[in-house]
Subunit: 340 residues, 2 copies
C-alpha cells in the first residue's frame, strides 16, 4: 500500500522499478541509458559504452578501474569532427595562403599558390606533393608559436566550410561531445591523439571539447628556442618534421605523452588501427570503437576506398575482434551541435 | 565590549586580528605563512612564494590567474631529489649492469662493464664517453617499455644511495614535496620537466611526488611499435636518442608536452636557465626559483664549478633579475622526509 506523502510515493515508485527489473530481467544499465548520450539512438553500441563505463567505475565490480587509470583517447579528424572534403588543417593552410598573398606578389604566377589564391583548387592540387609541402611550410613555419596560435584562432572565427557554411569548429560531432563529457563525469581523463599538428589543434580544442592543451597529442615540427631582438625568449616553428602521430606512431605518441595504456579508444580510419590494438592489449577491461561514416545526407559516406580517412583493415579487425562500430546514420540522432 | 558567548568571542578575536593588521601593517599573508610549507624557515623566499600564490589565486586580485593557466614546472635532479655524487639514473644503469651480468659472461673482462661489476667505479668511469653510452644502451634499450618500467620499480625498491644508505626515492626534498602539495591545493597543475629519461621517471614519480605520468616531461629515446610473436602489440625501446629535454630543450619540451607557458618554475642548474627565462617571458604574473645547494653537511654544497648540476649563468641571472634563490642550509629546516 502506498500512502500519499511525497516521500513514500517516491519509495513506492522506486520499489516498482526494482520489481520491474526483477520481473522483466531489465538491468540497471537499461535505465541509465535514458540519461547520458541523448543524441545516440538506443543500440548495441550505446549499450556497450554505458555498460563498460558502469563496470569500470562501480566500486566492487570485478572490472573496477581506479580513476587514475581511466585514460580515454580519441582520434580527431573523422572521429570528433568532420574530415571531408579534405582535412581541415589543409583548409586552414589553403585559406592562410590567401591571407598571406598580399605580402607575396611572387605567388601570383606560381602554382600551387596561384590556384589557391584564385579558388582554383583543382589546378593547385594538380601540382606535386613537394609543392603542397611548400604550402604547409610557409603557413606552418617561420613564425613564433604564439603567432601561429593567433592565426589558427582567427581562422576558426572567420573561415567557413564550403558545404555546410558554418565555422569548421561547428562541425564537431554532438554525440561525441556527449561521450567525452559522459566519460569525464565518470572520472575518465580524455585525450586527443591525432595525426593533426599539435599546434594547430591546441588553440581551439579546449573550448570545443573541454580538453586542455596538455591532453592533446599530435604530430609536430621541430621548434627552436631563441632569445629575440628585445631580449624576449620565443619559440620558432621550423619546417622540419619531428614526429608523425599516425598509424604505429599513435601508440608511440600515447607512450611518450601520456605514459599509460588507455583503457578506452575511438578512431575512424586505418590510421587508428595500432592505437586501438595498443588499447586492447592492456590487462583488465578495455574498449575500442570506430566511427563508420555512413551518412552521405547529413555528413559523408566513405570507408574502404576513401583517399581521406580510409577505413579498411581496421573495419575488418573490428569485425573479427568484436570492437564497437558506430553506424553514423543509424546510431546518431544528430550529427552537429544545433548552435555553436 | 565582548560578551562571553562563543560566537561573539570569535567575532571579537577576528576584529582584534583585523585591528592588528591595520595598526601594525601586517598583511593577510603574514598569517597565512604559519600554515603551509612547515619545513621552510621563515625567509624572503618563503614569503615570496606564499605571496605569489596568494596574489594569483585570490578572486578580484589584479594578478588573479584562472585555474587552467596555473601551470607549475619543476626540474627533477637537484631540484626535487638529490643528484650527487652522480645522477641517479646513472646509478640505476650501473646497478643494472650488475643485475644483468650473470647473463653476460663476456662483460667480465671488458671495461667499463668489468669495473661496474667489481664495484671499481674509478676504472669504469676512466673509459671514454662512447663506452659509457654502451652502458646506457644495454640498460635502457632492446626491451619493451613494460619490461623497462619493471626494472626501474625493482631498482627503486632495492638499491640504496652509497652515502645516505636509503632508497634513492627517499632522497626527495621534503620542503619541495610541501611546495608541490601547497601549489596543488591552490589549483596549480604541477609538472616535472627534467633532462632525465621520461621512461625512467614515470614508474616512481606518481607515488613519490603525486605527479601522474602524463605530467612528466623528459628526455626520450626512439620507441618502436610492433606486434610480438603471440600477436601481442608492444613498444620496444631503441638506443637512438630522440629528444634531450635540457637547456633550450626545456622550453621546447614544455611547448610540446604542455602547450602552455608555465607561470611558476623551479630549477637548480644552468640546464634550467631557458625554462626559467621562458616562464618569466609570459604575460601576467610569473615566478622563477632556484635551489642553491649550500649544505654539505645535510646534503651537498656545489654550484659554479660542479661537474653535475653546474649553477653559474643561472645564478647570475637570478641575481640580476631578482629570481628567488633557496639557500638550502638556511631556508630548509629539513632536507629529506623522516620516513619513506
Amino acid at each position: 500500500m502506498c500512502r500519499q506523502t511525497k516521500e513514500i510515493s517516491m519509495r513506492c515508485s522506486r520499489r516498482a522499478v526494482l520489481a520491474a527489473i526483477i520481473v522483466f530481467g531489465l538491468s540497471a544499465n537499461t535505465f541509465a541509458q535514458s540519461g547520458p548520450l541523448p543524441s545516440w539512438n538506443d543500440s548495441p553500441v550505446k549499450t556497450s559504452i554505458i555498460d563498460f563505463v558502469h563496470r569500470t567505475t562501480t566500486q566492487g565490480s570485478l572490472d573496477f578501474v581506479v580513476p587514475e587509470q581511466r585514460i580515454a583517447v580519441f582520434d580527431n579528424d573523422g572521429t570528433l569532427w568532420t574530415e571531408q572534403p579534405y582535412y581541415f588543417q589543409l583548409a586552414f593552410a589553403f585559406d592562410q595562403i590567401k591571407t598571406m598573398a598580399p605580402k607575396h606578389p611572387e605567388w601570383k604566377n606560381k602554382q600551387p599558390f596561384k590556384g589557391l589564391i584564385e579558388d582554383d583548387l583543382k589546378s593547385a592540387l594538380a601540382t606535386g606533393q613537394r609543392e603542397l609541402e611548400q604550402v604547409l611550410a610557409v603557413t606552418h613555419a617561420g613564425m613564433t608559436t604564439d603567432e601561429f596560435a593567433r592565426s589558427v584562432i582567427t581562422w576558426t572565427q572567420t573561415a567557413k566550410h564550403p558545404r555546410f557554411q558554418r565555422p569548421y569548429t561547428a562541425l564537431v560531432y554532438q554525440p561525441m561531445l556527449e561521450l567525452l563529457s559522459y566519460l569525464r563525469a565518470n572520472g575518465f581523463k580524455t585525450f586527443v591523439v591525432s595525426g593533426g599538428g599539435v599546434e594547430f589543434m591546441r588553440p581551439w580544442m579546449e573550448k570545443a571539447y573541454s580538453i586542455p592543451p596538455e591532453q592533446i597529442v599530435g604530430s609536430s615540427g621541430v621548434v627552436k628556442f631563441e632569445v629575440g631582438k628585445e631580449g624576449r625568449p620565443q619559440l620558432i616553428k621550423t619546417a622540419k618534421i619531428e614526429f608523425i602521430d599516425d598509424g604505429s606512431g599513435k601508440p608511440v605518441g600515447i607512450n611518450r605523452f601520456i605514459g599509460r595504456k588507455p583503457i578506452f579508444a575511438f578512431g575512424n580510419s586505418d590510421g587508428d588501427l595500432q592505437m586501438l590494438q595498443w588499447t586492447m592489449a592492456g590487462e583488465g577491461p578495455h574498449f575500442a570503437g570506430l566511427v563508420h561514416h555512413t551518412d552521405a545526407e547529413r555528413e559523408y559516406a566513405y570507408d574502404r576506398q576513401s583517399r581521406i580517412g580510409k577505413l579498411d583493415k581496421a573495419l575488418d579487425e573490428a569485425a573479427s575482434k568484436n570492437w564497437a562500430v558506430i553506424d553514423m546514420k543509424k546510431d546518431w540522432t544528430t550529427i552537429f551541435p544545433q548552435t555553436r
